[in-house]
Each structure stands twice: as structure tokens, then as C-alpha cells.
């Protein structure tokens, strides 16, 4: 595994790492895993969880950590705790662990406000820097954001971020707008979310020439840190120095103020990482290790994080109010009822559905007990995943405002600067994580949720995080590459299979493509895929087959309309999914026809138990 973007972290320990306990302090639950060296390789052996205790009445995050570890103690028979202390290093084969590490998104994660001069240039660069460091961006202020000066000041006053990142201007350019923004921030006297008496951390990563003025205006009012410009010239982003500063300040200031974090930092053998930053490390590592383009998603109760690595370029976004419990009602508000209803394979009246969604919002820890409730949650998750990817596409873009060289061949192509980097046809792998995907009763349910939400084009492999341990492995990879890799391959990553989806549309039942699959044992399966077909071909994990698809003349599989394509495809716990439902995927507009189509597809892939 490769190290993450922040500088490599050295653990304080020098003894060999054979037993590791790792926790992720989430907004609702703290999840602990035990990793042990078995023979020559590391394996994840036990898991425990407990409610997170960052807020009243406990207000000490370490209580939840100790409770989760106590559950591991019970299950494994290993003594890890000595009162409120984690025993390190191991004293004997059944006592202690060699290191304790943790990630955290508790207490709402790291909430940042960013500023720039031009909204879709330095504003977006600042946003990307903050998101990449694992933050939730609560607002982007820019000189041209359309808000009047007093509105900006009011906004800064009312928001209580954990940190502000200021950017704006290229080095050597005009300083006026950046200084103006500094004046607004100074006038607003922003106060941090935690700790009424301490100064708000503020990173300035804008025009170098404005540093003296910014220092003069904000030096007394905030804990100001100056760093390199994130956009030194228009054509280039330089996000790493600002991201590193965010990480440093997160540990030095923000976490020190959050309840119990001082203790947590002392307990841990390596710096605490924000959960999304740790998951980002894993996603980047997968892309690098396998030389693939990846989209990763972590769908939680409150937020959905999307990560992508295309041609080596990493991007992360967080959709702060798209989630499956706390934010479930917001998915309904943003997607609209018809978009959710289109995935529900039965009839339900609007009032009942709305009330059920609100009841889940106010009692977020409940679980679907009946099949129709499960199907409704799966329908909502498709929309949450879809909306979060749309959001990601809008931010994972090439730099805007950059002059492009155009040749005569570009004349007819009105391509603007700032085009999204997400090319679904070049996407090799989708990785899903988070409760609804990791804990779906059948793995095929996770696969179809992601296929329906993302509509992968051509040939795309899919996988899920087995029991939600990517954050733990992300932080582990910063201190022990081998342990993280071993566990990732053996216990974390569950390959679901591959989806083959021709691009184009046609009438239901019409021929879409002919295919020939050659299995590893030499067996050959020939068939025809019609429009409206969804077919599952068994191909087990670690098996590879060869597929040749001959699309009809208006259909494309990536090589051009009507051009045949031969590809190696990987199996998985679900298999090979042949998706003839067309791209863009179109569902029948008529309610009864749509319900019939959904029932047909769901039954074709064995999505739910019979009767569902």
C-alpha cells in the first residue's frame, strides 16, 4: 500500500505489530476491529461496536471506544483493557495489543468554511482542498457569489465552523479582493463550534503578496496559519500544502476541543485521522495498486461521501445531507417522491410513504422488518447514491478558467473548461461501503443498488466493503502497509462481479446485442441480450471469463456503435450481470408497466426472497 497524501506517519512504537486494535468513531456508533497476525499474514478477527459518546450526557468519546473494545474482549477472550487504559504492547499471547489506532467523524466531523475570489475558480479549488482533507464544507464564500457584503458577514457570523480556509488570487496578482474578504471575516468575528474561549483556526492559502495584509487584519482575531497558494497560477492547483495544514490544525486545535479527544489522542499510537480522509487513502491505494479508475462511495446515516480516482487524479466530495437515517427525509426532499417511487416494486400511497420516511428520520436506528420496508429503503438508497454522484461529478472537474488551446477539429465541439473528470465509460471499478451496502441481506442487492444508481457504461467491476472497515484500514496503511494490504484483500474487499451494460436504447424485446462468454473451464455460453433484459450469469469470485459482445448497429459498448468488443471479466459473489435495460436507463412511465418491469428484473437476479 502506498502512503496517504499527508506526510508519512511514524508510530510511536518500535516493537513488532502483531496485534492491532482500530476504531472508527462515527456520528452514531463506534466500531472496533481486532487485527491479528496469523502465520505470515494479518487477518481481521473480531469486531465490536457501541454507541458513540461524544455528546451529553457522556461528553467523552473514549467511553464509546472502551465499550466497543470491551465487546471485542468478550468475543475474543483477549484481555485488552486495564480499567480505562488499553494494554500496549502485548504482554503475552492473550493480553494486550501492540498498537491502538483510530479515525473519527464523531460530533459532525470536521466542518469548514472556505473562501475564494472567483467562485468557480479559487472558490472551487479551496473546496477541493478541504474536501480532500476529509472536511464537510458548510459554505463557499466568494467575491462574486452574488451575496451582498453584509450578507456575507452575516453568514460568517452565524455559521460556526471548526476552521476556515481562505484562498484567492494567483501569486503576484491583485490583492484587493482577498484583503476585502479578510476584512469581512474580521468584522464577522467568527467563533468556533467547540470551545468558546479559543481562537478559530484559519488557514490562508491565497495570493502570496496579500499575506502581510491578511496577517495584519486577522492575526489577532484568529489562529492564523499561512501556507502556499492553492492556485499559484491559473493553470495549476497546489492543494497538498493546504490539506496538510488542515490535518495539522484538525489535530492541534479542533480535536483538542472536542469532548474526550485529548484522551483519545493520548491513547492512540498514531495520529487520529478524519474518517473520510482514511477512506480516501484506501480508495487511492486501490486505484494505484490495480491501475484502475475507481469510484468509491461511503453511504452513512447522515452523509454520503463519494471518492474518485480517474487517470490518477483523486477527488472527494461529501453530500452532507444525503444519508439513510438522519438525512433520509432530505433524500426525499431532494430527489422528489416520483424518483423514489420508480424503484418500488409495488403500489403504496404517497401519504403512507411520506409518513414512513419521516418515522425513520425521527427513529434513525430502526431497521426494516418486512420485505416491503426493505425494498423502500433500497429505493431511497438508489436515489441518495445517484444524487451524491451527480454532486461529485459537478465538483470533480478539470480546472475552470484555464485557457484551452483549440484546433480546427474542436470547432464543432463546444467543450468548456471545467469538464467533469468522471467518465463512466472509462470507469473500471465501483467500491461501495456504508451500512446499507455492507449489510444488505443479499450481496446482489448491493450490486443492483449501485448499478441502478450509477448506470455504469460498458464493462465495470463492482465490490463492497464486507463489514465496514475501510476507515480502519486507511489509518492502518499509514503505519503498516502490509497489515492493511493483507486485511484489505482477505477480509475487507468483497468482489461482487462485473456489470456489462451496452449504451443505447430500444423497444423492449428488440435485440440489443449478441454475446459469447468463454468460461475458465472452456465452456462457452452464447446468447442474445434483448432490450429490457437483466440477466445474471454465475461466475464465481477469483474467476475470470472472456466475453465478446456484438451490439446491434445503434448500440455501443465503448468501441463505437455496432462495433464488437471482447473483454476479460471478473466474477464475484454475485456474478456477471448483463444489463440490457438501456443507457440511459429508462423505466416505463406507466405505473403498472413499471411495477411489472421491476418485478421481472428483481426476480431475474434473485434480488429478494420469493413473494417479495
Amino acid at each position: 500500500m502506498t502512503l496517504p497524501s499527508p506526510e508519512p506517519i511514524k508510530p510511536a512504537t518500535v516493537h513488532p505489530l502483531n496485534v492491532i486494535v482500530a476504531t472508527d468513531c462515527g456520528s452514531t456508533t463506534t466500531k472496533a476491529i481486532l487485527i491479528e497476525k496469523v502465520g505470515d499474514e494479518y487477518r481481521q478477527t473480531f469486531r465490536g461496536e457501541a454507541p458513540t459518546t461524544v455528546e451529553a450526557p457522556f461528553e467523552d468519546v473514549t467511553r464509546g471506544v472502551l465499550n466497543a473494545i470491551a465487546e471485542i474482549e468478550e468475543l475474543s477472550g483477549r484481555k485488552i483493557l486495564d480499567g480505562d487504559r488499553i494494554i500496549t504492547p502485548c504482554r503475552d499471547p492473550k493480553t494486550g495489543v501492540d498498537i491502538y489506532i483510530s479515525t473519527s467523524s464523531a460530533g459532525g466531523g470536521l466542518q469548514m468554511m472556505v473562501t475564494g475570489v472567483v467562485q468557480n475558480m479559487t472558490g472551487e479549488s479551496a473546496q477541493r482542498a478541504a474536501l480532500g482533507a476529509g472536511a464537510i464544507v458548510i459554505d463557499v464564500l466568494a467575491s462574486n457569489d452574488g451575496r451582498l457584503p453584509h450578507e456575507k458577514i452575516e453568514r460568517i457570523r452565524t455559521m460556526r465552523p471548526d476552521m476556515i480556509l481562505m484562498s484567492g488570487g494567483t501569486d503576484g496578482g491583485a490583492v484587493t479582493h482577498v484583503v476585502e474578504m479578510a476584512e469581512y471575516i474580521s468584522a464577522a468575528e467568527p467563533r468556533p463550534r467547540f470551545g468558546a474561549t479559543f481562537k478559530l483556526p484559519l488557514i490562508y492559502a491565497g495570493n502570496r503578496d496579500a499575506q502581510p495584509q491578511v496577517k495584519k487584519i486577522l492575526g489577532e482575531k484568529a489562529a492564523l496559519v499561512l501556507t502556499d497558494n492553492i492556485r499559484p497560477v491559473l493553470e495549476r492547483e497546489n492543494l497538498a500544502p493546504a490539506r496538510n495544514k488542515i490535518h495539522d490544525l484538525f489535530l492541534e486545535h479542533v480535536m483538542q476541543q472536542a469532548p474526550g479527544y485529548k484522551k483519545l489522542i493520548e491513547m492512540a499510537g498514531a495520529p487520529i485521522m478524519p474518517t473520510p480522509a482514511a477512506v480516501g487513502v484506501i480508495m487511492e491505494t486501490i486505484a494505484k495498486r490495480e491501475h484502475v479508475n475507481v469510484i468509491g462511495v461511503d453511504i452513512g446515516g447522515a452523509t454520503t461521501d463519494v471518492f474518485s480516482v480517474f487517470e490518477g487524479l483523486f477527488n472527494r466530495t461529501v453530500s452532507a445531507n444525503l444519508g439513510m437515517s438522519y438525512s433520509i427525509s432530505n433524500v426525499l426532499a431532494e430527489a422528489g417522491l416520483p424518483n423514489i417511487m420508480r424503484w418500488v416494486p409495488f403500489t403504496i400511497d404517497e401519504q403512507t410513504l411520506r409518513n414512513r420516511i419521516k418515522n425513520k428520520m425521527i427513529r434513525p436506528t430502526t431497521i426494516p422488518q418486512t420485505l416491503d420496508e426493505l425494498q423502500i429503503e433500497h429505493a431511497i438508497s438508489r436515489e441518495a447514491l445517484r444524487l451524491a454522484l451527480t454532486h461529485h461529478k459537478s465538483l470533480a472537474t478539470a480546472l475552470k478558467g484555464v485557457q484551452q488551446e483549440r484546433t480546427i477539429s474542436d470547432v464543432f465541439e463546444q467543450q468548456q473548461s471545467g469538464k467533469t473528470l468522471i467518465d463512466m465509460l472509462k470507469l473500471d471499478l465501483i467500491v461501495g461501503s456504508g451500512g446499507i451496502l455492507s449489510h444488505a441481506p443479499r450481496r446482489v442487492q448491493s450490486m443492483l443498488m449501485m448499478v441502478d444508481a450509477y448506470e455504469p457504461l460498458g464493462v465495470t467491476r463492482l465490490s463492497v466493503d464486507s463489514i465496514f472497515m475501510m476507515p480502519h484500514l486507511g489509518v492502518l496503511s499509514t503505519i503498516n502497509e502490509k497489515a492493511a494490504t493483507d486485511v484489505f484483500i482477505r477480509d475487507c474487499m468483497v468482489y461482487l462481479g462485473t456489470c456489462v451494460a451496452p449504451i443505447g436504447q430500444g423497444k423492449e424485446g428488440e435485440r440489443c446485442a449478441d454475446y459469447t462468454i468463454t468460461f475458465p473451464d472452456g465452456r462457452v455460453d452464447k446468447g442474445q441480450l434483448s432490450f429490457g433484459d437483466l440477466r445474471l450469469v454465475p461466475l464465481s469470485d477469483r474467476q475470470k471469463a472472456s466475453i465478446t459482445v456484438q451490439p446491434v448497429k445503434q448500440v455501443n459498448l465503448g468501441a463505437g456503435a455496432g462495433v464488437p468488443v471482447t473483454r476479460e471479466v471478473y466474477g464475484g459473489v454475485v456474478g456477471l450481470l448483463l444489463d440490457g435495460r438501456g443507457r440511459p436507463l429508462q423505466l416505463p412511465a406507466d405505473h403498472n408497466a413499471r411495477v411489472a418491469s421491476l418485478a421481472k428484473w428483481y426476480s431475474a437476479v434473485g434480488l429478494y426472497p420469493k413473494g417479495g
Partner: protein, 376 residues
Amino acid sequence: MAHSYTPGLTVTEQALIRRRRMLSLPGKVLVSAGEKVRANQAVARAELPGKVYPLNLANQLGVAPDEIQEYLIKKAGDTVQKEEILAENKPLVKWFKTEVRSPITGVVESVSTVTGQVLLRDPPRVLELLGYVDGTIVEVIPQQGVVVETDCSLVQGIFGIGGETRGEIVIGVASPEEVLSPGHFTAEMKEKVVVGGSFISSDALARAKEIGVAGVVIGGIHDKDLRALLGYDLGVAITGTEQVGFTLILTEGFGPIPMARKTFTLLSAHAGQPASISGATQIRAGVIRPEIIVPKGRASGGHNVATELQREGIRIGDQVRVIRDPLFGKIGEVASLPSDLQKIPTESEVRVMEVRFADGSRTMIPRANIELIEGA
């Protein structure tokens, strides 16, 4: 150890509770420890700095930013009246004179020679923090606030909108199953807390607003009626600042659901007494639930630690509420607590509990879908 049940809502006749009252910015605490306070009494005060108005003087005078000092009549820190001259140029021909006048009464906060901007600030606004409940001050946090303790009856709701208020409790219906309709509201209910039964419709909500009730406590409402009341679709359950004319508290959830008999009986027993209520809800870790507090009117000890009704876990015989379909809203008691995981119709393997209902029937329900009805 992890509890595999949802901590429930407290409904109790007898509780010693503490409420932390904090200013949103440093100010002055007006009471001292041991002092008795009333719900509507100010316990702390702060001055909220006024709004800021930026004014680009350089642009208005048509001069370079670093020259504006020469034209200023008022300097940083000076007070200024509305329409008073802030800066002016001194042209040779009087006709070309430009005067920049202050749009507000306040102070000149700062003058920037880089941007040419002057920031003006409104006078500070006084914020008073009320006691919220009748009780005793048990802790003073200097410059920030106080902790008030009260001996009371307490009912927690599941969801609410609107902030803190108080009023006399009036029972609007005859039974917890009855729907609170427009006909139940009378002019005498003005500024009172009206307790209903299972459901309130949109026309009854409109009637409540028209009369000017302080609050409505009800079993359930339809989501579409909430949307109509608020004017938008509520995405995340973080509430307390809505201004719909009254505070609304749901005790059970969305849809028509009879109010738990225990809740209805307790509130009925306090009809005619003043109550402090809050609709503020935050559903996330460290949840905040809406509440109805009926102070007992006698002084609390102040020395005893006010335990906030913490408990160890779930026991056979405990009263529980089912909080997910298909039996949503039903109330029963714990009959058994099998420790093995059980497969439910979704094919998930989960921990369950057996619940016995009033008609004697028993059903296995996932523990995650059960809520304790807490309180003695």
C-alpha cells in the same frame, strides 16, 4: 457495554432535572447560585454586536483606496448618526462636491486603505436568556450561563417544532385515541398548551394558530400537514427555531397514532397547571427531544445529584413501544429476551425480543425497533 435497544422517551410524574442555560456569546450572569428563579425571569444577558455595513468610500468618492484617509470626517471608533457625513471631497468648484453619508446610526468599525472600504456597525442588541423553568440555580458558569434545577413531572416527545414557551395545560379531548379537531379549540385556549389525542389535521392546526395557543401536544400528524405548516419539506430533524405561531410536540410519530395512555394520563393529571415546553429536536448522537416540564413548585434540594433517569438496560416486564412497521405505535411489555440472532422476513439476522400486547398476543420484534417507555 453496548445496549441493543433504543433509549426511550421519558414519561414520569417525578423527576429532578437540570437544564443548562447558556448564552450564545459571553455576557453577564444576573443570578447567583442557590437563588430561586421563575421560567420567564432573565438569568443572563449579553450584547450581540450589531450588524456590519461595508461602504466602499474609495469608489463613491472616486479616489484611490490609499487616499481615503484624507477625505474622512469620521475616524475608526467614532460614533455616527444616520445621514451624518462620513467623508467628503473638497473640490475647487463646490458643484462637484461629493458627500458620503452614513446609512445607519452606529460606530465606524474600521477603515481600510487597501480596499477603500469603511465598515460601520449597528449598536449592539441586548439578548436576554430566560430561566425556562421555575427552579433553583445550582451552578453559575461565569459570563456564560447557569444550570437550573427543578423538581417536576416530565414528558419527552419524539419530535417537535418551535422553541421554548410556557402555558397552562388544557386537555382538548376525552381520550388518547380521539382526534383533535378544529371544533375542540376554543378562545379560552389562547396562550395555553393544548393536549390532544391521536392526531391533528391541517385545519385543526390552522385553528390552533388562529386562536393563538402556546403549544399543541399530540400523538401524530401527517408529514404533508407538517410540510404545509412549515412551508417546506423538512430534510433533517434539527428544529427549535421555526416560527409557526405555536410550539408543536408529537409524542408518538407521523400518522394517526393514539397517544400512549401513560402520557395522556400524566398530562391530564396536571390540567390547569403551568408547564414549560420546548419543541427543539435534534436527532443525531446526543439527541435532544422536545419536552413538557411541569414544575412541582417546591424547592429542590440543590445538594442531591440530579440523576437524569439513567438506566442499565432492558428488563422483562418493561413497557415498550413498537417504533417501526408493521406494528408501529403499538404498546406492550417485554415477555422474553432471546439472546440468539433470529432471521426476520428481510433475511437479516438480528437480535429480537418477544413483546406481549394488551390482548394477550405475543410477537417477536427486532430489538432495534423497540423503544422503552422510560420513567417511574
